[in-house]
Amino acid sequence: MLDVAGLEVAYGDYQVIWDVSLHVAAGEIVSVLGPNGAGKSTVLNTISGLCRPKAGRITFKGERIDGLPPYEIVGRRLAHIMERRRVFPYLTVRQNLWLGGYNPSARKERAQTLDFVFELFPRLEERESQLAHSLSGGEQQMLALGRGLMARPELLLVDEPLLGLAPAVAADMMRILRQINETGVSILFIEQNVQTALSIADRGYVLEGGHLVLDGTAEELLASADVKRIFLGG
């Protein structure tokens, strides 16, 4: 479904991603792992069109999407939930959600999509006319996810969904990601905690210093000594 081949990304002259290739098959949950500064967010930002690649190709459902502006990529049903949630603080929950569903491919069905989102996150329905900044961190993450789902994605990119969440809420969030996946949405997400990430992911990629250093199924990665070295040093 998503194929990234030989991706290179640079900010100005400063290259941060070297020759990264990865793929996500339909229905999969795939995790991108790696320590801080490994380039995980940059990879996701490049897939969704917020950054432009220096080299490499990105194909989604068989069509090249690298170099397209972000709003066209969303229209192809690839939604990106950015790090730190980025909800619109002074818009209501409902306005936030609505903004996720305006692109032409999702607009017609947005009433039903909203229903689906509220079913997934009943908390958001209770708070639909509240301003987003008044929500708790966990609720804001739900809102960010819900807003992304409003675009009716077939592939969802999620950048650190657990950032700053209490452990109990984090466990909930993992369960929700899996639930979303079960409705048929493929997921590519970033997480720093290997155990947590691989508890729901089918496969994982490990980035370090902008290079892809390891990839494999969840079981392979959990058993790998390299993963321990990368994350724990030594």
Partner: protein, 348 residues
């Protein structure tokens, strides 16, 4: 790939669709309609009751400034792009009307329309490169562009250079020449009309998808972009609307004063004043720019009378003190006070 589960289910329930109607603003309540109507009638009747030229002059100037402030409000208040160069559009509007009439006897009404078109084109030319800049850098770029515009017009002899343009007096065809020498009433009602039109536009904007995009861009531009908003396109729409309002204000000003020069229509202080007026009233609200102008303009006139027109900046000192007080007690501007008095919570 098979259609995801929730993509395939389509409960076509019209009641549900109605319940999920667009989450924009509710229509105005009955109380708001009545208040609006009362204010409208008062404004229409004002010049008939207060028939001294000076009493009417103050209101005419408020209309012109408020129109310009509303223009800034669209760009900065709703879309979050802080421009410090609004005088560029004001000047273009002023010069279009004055130059075309004094050199080619073209009616200033047409000149005003030309000014709007030119301003919108200039807005595009400014916006395309500067919207690549973020936050403060955009503000600084517009500040510099404002200063460049003034310098260009000071040195542009074809349009009068530093001495500007004296508009030829025309007694016989007041409506064609857009000059009214017997009464200020036409200026009053024309100014009020354009301000009302601008407010209607903003009223519509607040309830439109475009307005929602503007606010999304103001609050989280990257998120707006990742959700599928063509951010640059909507910023360009905002600056073009803003330029159009401001340009009309410039043309009205010209026809009212009948003499313009680069110092009067391109000054930095003008760009700053509209910012102060809007901030004082309430940024990103329909009534903020009007309330702010209605408070600040008479205040500046009064201080000028009280302290004499010595060219000292007493009025600005008082502005500064007031804005300080307002921002401490009502960070959202005077509109916060209005909402409090009217007994309803302010909303974003």
């Amino acid at each position: 790939m098979a259609a995801p589960g929730f993509l395939s289910e389509t409960p076509d329930d019209p009641e549900l669709a109605a319940a999920r109607a667009e989450p924009l603003r509710a229509p105005p309540s009955r109380g708001q309609w009545i208040l609006g109507a009362v204010i409208g009638v008062c404004l229409l009747a004002y010049p008939l009751v207060f028939d001294q030229p000076y009493q009417q002059h103050v209101l005419i100037m408020i209309f012109i400034y408020a129109l310009m402030a509303q223009g800034w409000n669209v760009l900065a208040g709703y879309c979050g792009q802080i421009s410090l160069g609004q005088a560029v559009f004001f000047g273009i509007g002023a010069y279009s009307a004055a130059f075309l009439f004094s050199n080619f006897q073209i009616s200033p009404w047409l000149g005003m329309a030309v000014g709007v078109v030119v301003s919108m084109v200039v807005a595009l030319l400014i916006g395309i490169p500067t919207f690549r800049l973020k936050g403060h850098y955009f503000a600084i770029a517009t500040l510099v562009i404002g200063e460049i515009a003034q310098t260009v017009f000071i040195n542009w002899e074809y349009v009068g250079g530093a001495t500007g343009i004296w508009i030829p007096i025309e007694w016989d065809a007041p409506w064609f020449a857009f000059q009214f020498h017997d009464s200020k009433l036409p200026y009053y009602y024309i100014g009020l009309g354009f301000l009302a039109l601008a407010c209607l536009c903003v009223y519509w904007l607040e309830r439109s998808r475009t307005g929602l995009y503007f606010r999304a861009i103001r609050e989280e531009p990257e998120a707006a972009s990742s959700l599928g908003t063509d951010v640059t396109r909507y910023k360009l729409i905002a600056i073009m609307v803003s330029a159009a309002f401001t340009s009309v204000a410039g043309s009205l000003f010209t026809q009212y004063i009948l003499v313009i020069d680069p110092e009067t229509v391109f000054p930095l202080i003008l760009s700053i004043l509209v910012v102060l007026m809007t901030m004082m009233g309430g940024v990103g609200t329909l009534w903020g720019p009007i309330i702010g102008t209605a408070v600040l303009f008479p205040l500046s006139e009064m201080t000028r009378i009280y302290f004499g027109g010595s060219g000292g900046a007493e009025d600005l000192m008082i502005y500064g003190a007031l804005i300080l007080l307002i921002s401490v007690f009502y960070p959202r501007g005077l509109i916060g006070l209005v909402h409090k008095v009217m007994g309803r919570g302010s909303h974003a």
